[in-house]
Each structure stands twice: as C-alpha cells, then as structure tokens.
C-alpha cells in the first residue's frame, strides 16, 4: 500500500468530519478512513437528543456567551475555558453547515431549525431531528463522504501505532474480512474511535464496540490520557438493558416519579427539576433507589419516567424511537404507562489528552470526539454537547492534520513488525491446559466497575475495584480465542476489545481513587465536597512499566471564576 498522508481511525461523526475537512484543506492528500464497522453503523447514530448551538431561533436572547457559561458551569469548572469558547462559537456555523449539506433538522413554524430545552442549559438551544438526531447527522456525513470519494477501509480493526523512538510512522490494523494484519504507513494518524463507557457492560447505554480502542492504542504507545475517572451516568437507562431513553424525553416535559408517587427532583434541583444536569439527576435517581424509594422487580430496582401526561400525539411525533424501544425492550407503551429506568454508564468525559487543535504529545498523532479530551466537558458533559464536540473538534483535527502533514516524514513500517503482530494474535488461539473465557472476564469487569467505580465512590470500594481489575488483567494473559479461522473472526475481535477495556479500566479506577473530592460525575462519598484548592486540575494517566502512573495538568481558566454549582 502507498504510504498515506492521513489515516483516520474511526468512521463516526468526528472521523467523517475530519476526513471531509482534511480533503477540503488539501485535496492532493492521500487520506484513509479505517473503521471496524461500516461507518454508517457508528455509535454517533445512537445520539438521540440533539446538538447545542446558540442559533437563537427559539429563544431570541440566546448567545454564544450563555452557551459558554452553561458549559463551563456544567463541567463543574474543570473544562478548559479557551476550548469551550472554541466549541460554542463554532457551534452555530457547524449546525448551519450540516443543514446546508442536507441534515433533516426538525423545523419551527417560521421554517428555521427547531430548538428544544436540554439539561443544564439556560435557553432552549438544542437543535434536533425528532429523536434521531445523531442518526441523521451520521447519514449526512457518510453520504457527503461517499460523494467526495473518501477512501474507506471498512471492517478494519486498529491494533497498534508503529513508533520508532519517538517518531510515529503509521498504524497496524487487522483486516477483519481476511484476518490479515496490514500496515498503514502514514505521516499522521487521527484517532476518532468514540468512548470507553462500554467497560461497564450491562450497566452501559453504549454499543458493544465502544471499547476505547483508540485511547488504549495511544496509551500503550506512551501517549497520556486525561481525566479518565470522569464517566457520565445517564439518569434514564432502560431497566433491563441499560439502553438509553433520551434526555429529550424530559426536555419535552417527562416526569421522574418514585414509588411514593413523588416528583422527587423537587428535593434535589428545585428550579430545574427533571432538567437539572445529568450528574445531579443520575445521583438523585440512585439515591432514591438506595434509600428504598425505587420500584422493585426481578430485573432490578428502578424509577418511573412518566410521559403519559404528554399525550399520544406528542410522543408519536417527537419521541417515536423512545416509544418503540420501550415497547421492544420493556414491553411498556409510554403513552399508557411510565417507563422503568435507572442510571446507566453513558459517556466518557476523559480521553486522549489533546490541545485545542486535536494534537497529542506525539508528533503526527491527533485525536477528536469522545476519544479525545480537549477538555470541553470537564467533570460533566451537558446533553447536546457531545454531538457538537465530535463535529467541531473532528473538523479542527482534520484541518490541523492536513495543514501540518508536511512537518512529518513519510513512515515506513518494517515487515517484521507485521509478522510479530500476526504471531501475537495467533498466540491467543494456541490450546493450553489452563485458559480463561472471554465472556467471564468481561462480565466480571463490568460488575466490579459498576459496584466499585460507579456513581457513588469511596476509598474501600475503589481499592477493591483496583484489585479486581489488576487480577482480571493477570487472568487475561490466559484468555483463549476458540475460533481459529482467519475470515471474520469476531471471537478474536472481542478478545482484543477486552484488552483495551481492561487497560483503560485501570486508568479510570486509579484516577477515581486519587481524586479525593466530588466534582461533576465523580462523587466520593468520603470526600463529598469539591476541593478546588487541591483538585482544581486535570489528572493525566500514562503507562509506565506496564502500569498506570498519574500526573496532573492545570485547568485553563478565562472569564469565569470558580463558583459553587447549584441548579
């Protein structure tokens, strides 16, 4: 294969936008997009609610400034303020750009793009297409990429960066359809592989493949990860599957009700009620359940999300997917009955440490979207800011890589590296006396994370979590791949994904144990208050001698001083 100028790993919103923008910036570049699924399958499609932008279509007094403030406050002041400024000021432009390319935004009576209220936002600024916003954005981007002739390598699983000393020379990836390890020599690589919240497995709203592949590859190549302890729990996952009921359901007026029939959010967020920020609402639900005010069922304890008062018409037109999912996965029609919900791991605020241009510490390596951490979400992401993040920073990373590509020499990956990697994969398939099953390890990982590194955290639990993860990483040495075939070996892919989750789980637990304060999504029962003096800073996790080492990084401040965060 001819060496590439840019290899983009991941074909979701961030990766596709990066590809389009890089082509636009310099049409002569040789660009590849690698994705382990067909790009239109990417998890961007699951984003239901919408994307925030201060278009002021709905609330005429909305401004970029207000969006910036809401985002910083929502982040519990851990976001870098210069990065948030980029995010929010680019927002109106990027929403209009998508409109110009064909995204079917829902419309208001005056035919402008519709906006609705969302958690933690002072104005209704969330642009949406019914409850399929992410899906339609992903379709639009994929269509435009097909139009522009982007080179796709579909069903390629990224394995590792090829690094010589400190110089990155490309990427190794497994061609899933043939089972061959292939080298993608390249001047630059952009990681856009999405989040890592699937490590919580059954207590996660994520797709099976949100296993943090890009973060784990970067981490193993010595690139630092930032703020990994911040995992957002979405308040309303379906009871049985953890699948998500969009915040839009509450945006449209849904109530949260405990078994006493009480709209309990009045006790936690008097003013915003159900539309408080996600971390607060998730903690409120969990508290209700822990204090015995949840409902009981064989499938676990839960709370009611009641939409019945909204009426059949509104539910059918604005929340059709939610209705369908409730019926398919819970057997409940929200027009008639409340939906059983409980908090579910949903989003990773942490990720590959990047600057505002998507650059990492390693020359030629960039990251964007949920995979990266700029950081614009700090300790807690606001609803409607994640689609925005992947669009804005996907585009920036694509542009930056295209502009800087000349700084890096074309890489050559030696054949021996391919042979070594092939051997490494084969070794999982060798029969041995003692072996571990993939499914058991993954199940135990999800359980220990949910129990010990979940919504409410404290030192003894976290120590247990850290021990469990270490033990699982040891046992992983003996994991066995039973499918020995080359063609489309999903058993092998699962085992490789598990490795990525295990490596990242260690950084999540380590960060959570170190951070002795409560901030945003990170709640320490033993340190219940935000401690700005000691902890108003990012944690940075680096892999040294096979284990995680924590460092720190200051938060970039700006116009907004630290304040107590109340809603």
């Amino acid at each position: 294969m001819k060496p590439f100028d840019i290899v983009i790993v991941g074909g979701g919103g961030a990766g596709l936008y990066a590809a389009m923008e890089a082509m636009k910036t310099n049409p002569s570049l040789n660009i590849a997009v690698l994705s382990k699924v067909y790009p239109n399958r990417s998890h961007t499609s699951a984003a239901q609610g919408g994307a925030n932008a201060a278009l002021a279509n709905k609330a005429k007094d909305d401004t970029v400034e207000l969006h910036i403030f809401d985002t910083i406050k929502g982040s519990d002041y851990l976001a870098d303020q210069d990065a948030v400024e980029v995010l929010c000021s680019e927002a109106p432009k990027i929403i209009r750009e998508l409109d110009n390319m064909g995204t079917p935004w829902s419309r208001m009576d005056d035919n402008t793009i519709a906006q609705r209220p969302f958690g933690g936002a002072g104005r209704p600024r969330c642009c949406y297409c019914a409850d399929k916003t992410g899906h339609t954005i992903l379709q639009t981007l994929y269509e435009q990429c097909l139009k522009k002739g982007v080179q796709f390598f579909n069903e390629y699983f990224a394995l590792s960066l090829s690094v010589n000393g400190s110089r990155m020379r490309g990427l190794l990836a497994l061609n899933i359809k043939t089972g061959k390890v292939e080298a993608f020599a390249s001047k630059t690589v952009i990681f856009a592989t999405g989040g890592y919240a699937k490590m919580y497995w059954n207590r996660s709203s994520n797709a099976a493949g949100n296993t943090g592949d890009g973060q784990a590859i970067a981490y193993r190549a010595g690139i630092p990860l930032k703020d990994m302890e911040f995992v957002q729990f979405h308040p309303t996952g379906l009871r049985k599957s953890g699948l998500l009921v969009t915040e839009g359901a509450r945006g449209e007026g849904g109530y949260l009700i405990n078994r006493d029939g009480e709209r309990f959010m009045a006790r936690y967020a008097k003013e915003k009620m159900e539309l408080g920020p996600r971390d607060l609402v998730a903690r409120s639900l969990e508290t209700e359940i822990l204090e015995g005010r949840g409902f009981d069922s064989p499938a676990g304890k839960y709370i009611h999300l009641d939409l019945t008062h909204l009426g059949a018409d509104l539910i059918k037109s604005r929340l059709p997917q939610i209705r369908e999912m409730s019926m398919q996965f819970e057997g409940v029609d929200p027009i008639e009955e409340p939906i059983p919900v409980r908090p579910t791991a949903h989003y990773s605020m942490g990720g590959i440490d990047t600057d505002n241009f998507g650059r990492t510490v390693m020359g030629g390596v960039y990251a964007a979207g949920e995979c990266g951490c700029v950081s614009v979400h700090g300790a807690n992401r606001l609803g409607g800011n994640s689609l925005l993040d992947i669009l804005v920073f996907g585009r920036i990373a694509g542009r930056t890589a295209a502009e800087e590509v000349g700084k890096f020499a074309p890489g050559i990956i030696p054949e021996s590296e391919i042979a070594e990697k092939t051997e490494e994969l084969r070794s999982f398939m060798k029969p041995s006396g003692h072996y571990e099953r993939y499914g058991a390890l993954r199940e135990e990982l999800g359980q220990t994370l949910a129990m010990n590194v979940g919504i409410f955290r404290e030192a003894p639990l976290l120590r247990k979590g850290i021990e469990d993860i270490a033990a699982l990483r040891d046992r992983y040495q003996h994991v066995r791949v039973f499918d020995t075939s080359d063609v489309y070996n999903t058993n092998l892919i699962q085992v490789l994904e598990l490795k990525n989750m295990l490596d990242l789980a260690e950084t999540v637990a380590a960060g959570a144990y170190a951070r002795e304060e409560s901030r945003g999504s990170h709640t320490r029962v033993d340190f219940p208050v935000r401690d700005d003096e000691k902890w108003h800073k990012h944690t940075v996790a680096t892999l040294e001698n096979g284990t995680v080492t924590l460092g720190e990084k200051p938060v970039t401040m700006g116009r907004y001083e630290l304040q107590e965060r109340t809603y």
Binding site: N154, K177, G261
Partner: protein
C-alpha cells in the same frame, strides 16, 4: 401511597436455534448447527446468539453493534424473514416455527455471503454511490455554514420517514427482483434516492432521476411490497418507489424503459377495454425485434398447446365498460389533483 410490582411470571422454554454455518476457508457448502438453550420470555434473538457464542460455540459469527435497533448491523433472517436480531423477541417468532420451538437463523439474501450470518455490504454501498445518494447542495461550498435554508414542515414531512432508514438491508434481502437480477438498484437505494429528490436543497434532481429510469432502475420493481412489509423501521418504501415513478412520468414522459412503456400500455388497455390485450403487450413494451427474438419459441409452444391469447380484434371491452371509463377518468383526475397539491 405505595405501589407494588405485580407478580411477573418469568416463563422459560428450551429453544433450539438452527444456525446457518459457512466458513469459506473450510466448507465447500453451507450447513446448519443446532444449539438448544433455555430462554426466558423477553429475551431477544440477538441476546440468545450472544449467549450461544459465549457459552456453547465461540465460532458462530454474526455482526452486532448498538444492540438497540439503530445501527442496522444485526439484520438476518429469522424463520425465513429478514429482521434485526436485536429487536426481535424470541417469543414473538415462536409462532412461526416450522418445527415447534426450533428457530432458524440465516444470513440476509441477495448480498454475497462472507461467513455464517455475515454478508458483504459493499454492493449496496456501491449502488448508493452509483445513484448519487447524497444531497448535492445548491449552496456553494465557500458559503456553507453562513446561513440556514428555510424548510417548511410540509417538505420535512416528505422525507422524514425516509430518513429513518438505517441501511440494515432487510429490504434488500426480501426483494424479489434482486433475486433475479443482482444489478437491480435495490429498495433501500430507491428510498434514499427519493429522499434526496424531495429535498429542496439538492441540485442534481434530474441527473439522479435520469440514472434511476435506466435499466435495472425504478421501472424494474414489480410492486410485490416485500420491502415495505419487512422494513424494520416501518418505512413506506413503496410510496417512495411510486413517488419516483410519478416524478419520472411528469418530468420525462413514458418512453424511458420497457418498464415505463409496459405501464403505459397496461393503462391504455385498461382504459379502452377494461382488460389486457395480452397478445401485443410484449411488442408494445419491448418492441417487435426483442419480442420476435425472445418470445417466438414460447409463442410457438403456446400455439401447439392452444394457449395463445386472443388476437386484439377479438378482445372485446368488458361488460359495463362505460361506467368503468367514467370511474377511470375520475380517478385519474384525483391523482392529478393530488400531485398538484403534493408538488406545491
């Protein structure tokens, strides 16, 4: 007030999953493997397959990603019908088992088989490219992002349902034309084409339409409605196909393909006689040369077997043709009115 959960009876059953197996590296032809597991009510086909893969046989291969019915990865045939494994309840398909409690799981049809339940999606992507399944914006690139288009609710509603498509290819698998002709455009691509052509932001309506009316295009559909019946998002795909055809007739007339000529001849017969003049239908659809070359042997056989349709002068108008004609005219008028209001 306290609310107690009603007692839920968690019914369980032993279910056999008869799974289509094929590994191109080893197998010369496909076969089926049976896996019997205990399944609770409320469990989906995908969860059952996950269980089988984790506990019984790690080599069973299938795609799955979001597991929530939005990514489209896990489309497969369950008891002969294409659907998403992740949203299909085991209990729901039990009624359609040929053998009691045996569920047959097979890959989608009409796409090349890769392994077990996995098919190659590339042909579908290639067709999306061929038929320009994207909005070619009327906004020049350098002006993008500066202002939004104003789109009416009415226009949005035209393509709202079509944008629900998740490209799972269930319709592709069920399509009866694709079974016979793999080059056929495919229902999903027609749906997407219709969606693009109803978008006022798009600048290449006529280019796309010109491609759609060629051979293997929109006129090849035989209205079997299988695509629409199977659509996992309940999208009225046939409305889209009819939409493209009506648009084509309006903008291009009826001379594009044998399919459109066939439709025209069909309509004219019905109006004149209330039934078909079968003897000349092939000539009017495909021309004399084609008919002689392709249908002469069959015509000879029909003569021998005395099965030839009557010659045109012998096809008399059906009883009550006058009443029928006035109804026909009234209907045509309604359709015209309908289009006018649609295209406003």
């Amino acid at each position: 007030m306290t609310v107690t959960e009603p007692h839920i009876e968690e019914a369980k059953k032993d279910i056999t999953f008869r799974v289509f197996r094929f590994n191109p590296q080893i197998d010369s032809k496909p076969y089926y493997d049976d896996y019997t597991i205990q399944v609770e009510r409320g469990i989906t086909v995908l969860r059952s397959l996950n269980y089988i893969k984790e506990h019984l046989d790690a080599t069973v291969s299938f795609r799955a990603f979001c597991q929530a019915g939005i990514c489209g990865s896990c489309a497969m045939r369950v008891n002969g019908l294409s659907k998403l494994a992740c949203t299909t309840q085991v209990w729901e398909v039990l009624e359609k088992c040929r053998e009691p409690n045996v569920i047959k799981v097979e890959p989608l049809r009409n796409l090349p088989l890769v392994k077990d339940l996995i098919v190659d999606m590339d042909p579908l992507v290639d067709k999306m490219k061929h038929y320009s399944n994207w909005v070619e914006s009327t906004m020049p690139e350098e002006k993008m992002g500066k202002k939004e288009f104003l789109i009416s609710e009415e226009e949005f509603l035209k393509y709202d349902k079509a944008t629900d498509c998740i490209l799972c290819a269930s319709c592709v698998s069920e399509c009866s034309i694709l079974r016979a002709n793999s080059e056929y455009v495919s229902p999903a691509v027609l749906l997407k084409s219709y969606r693009m052509n109803s978008d006022s932001r798009d600048a290449i309506h006529d280019v796309r339409l010109a491609e759609l009316v060629k051979d293997h295009g929109v006129w090849d559909c035989t209205h079997c409605y299988r695509c629409q019946e199977t659509c996992v998002k309940s999208i009225p795909i046939m409305d889209a196909i009819h939409g493209i055809r009506e648009d084509a007739i309006e903008r291009r007339g009826m001379k594009d393909t044998s399919g459109s000529k066939h439709a025209e001849a069909f309509m004219s017969d019905i109006e004149k006689k209330g039934k078909l003049v079968e003897a000349t239908l092939p000539i009017r659809t495909n021309g004399m040369a084609w008919t002689l070359k392709n249908l002469l042997p069959m015509a000879m056989k029909m003569i021998v077997k005395r099965r030839t349709p009557p010659p045109p002068p012998l096809v008399k108008p059906t009883k009550g043709i006058r009443v029928f004609r006035s109804m026909f005219r009234e209907m045509s008028e309604h359709v015209r009115e309908d289009h006018k209001s649609h295209n406003k």
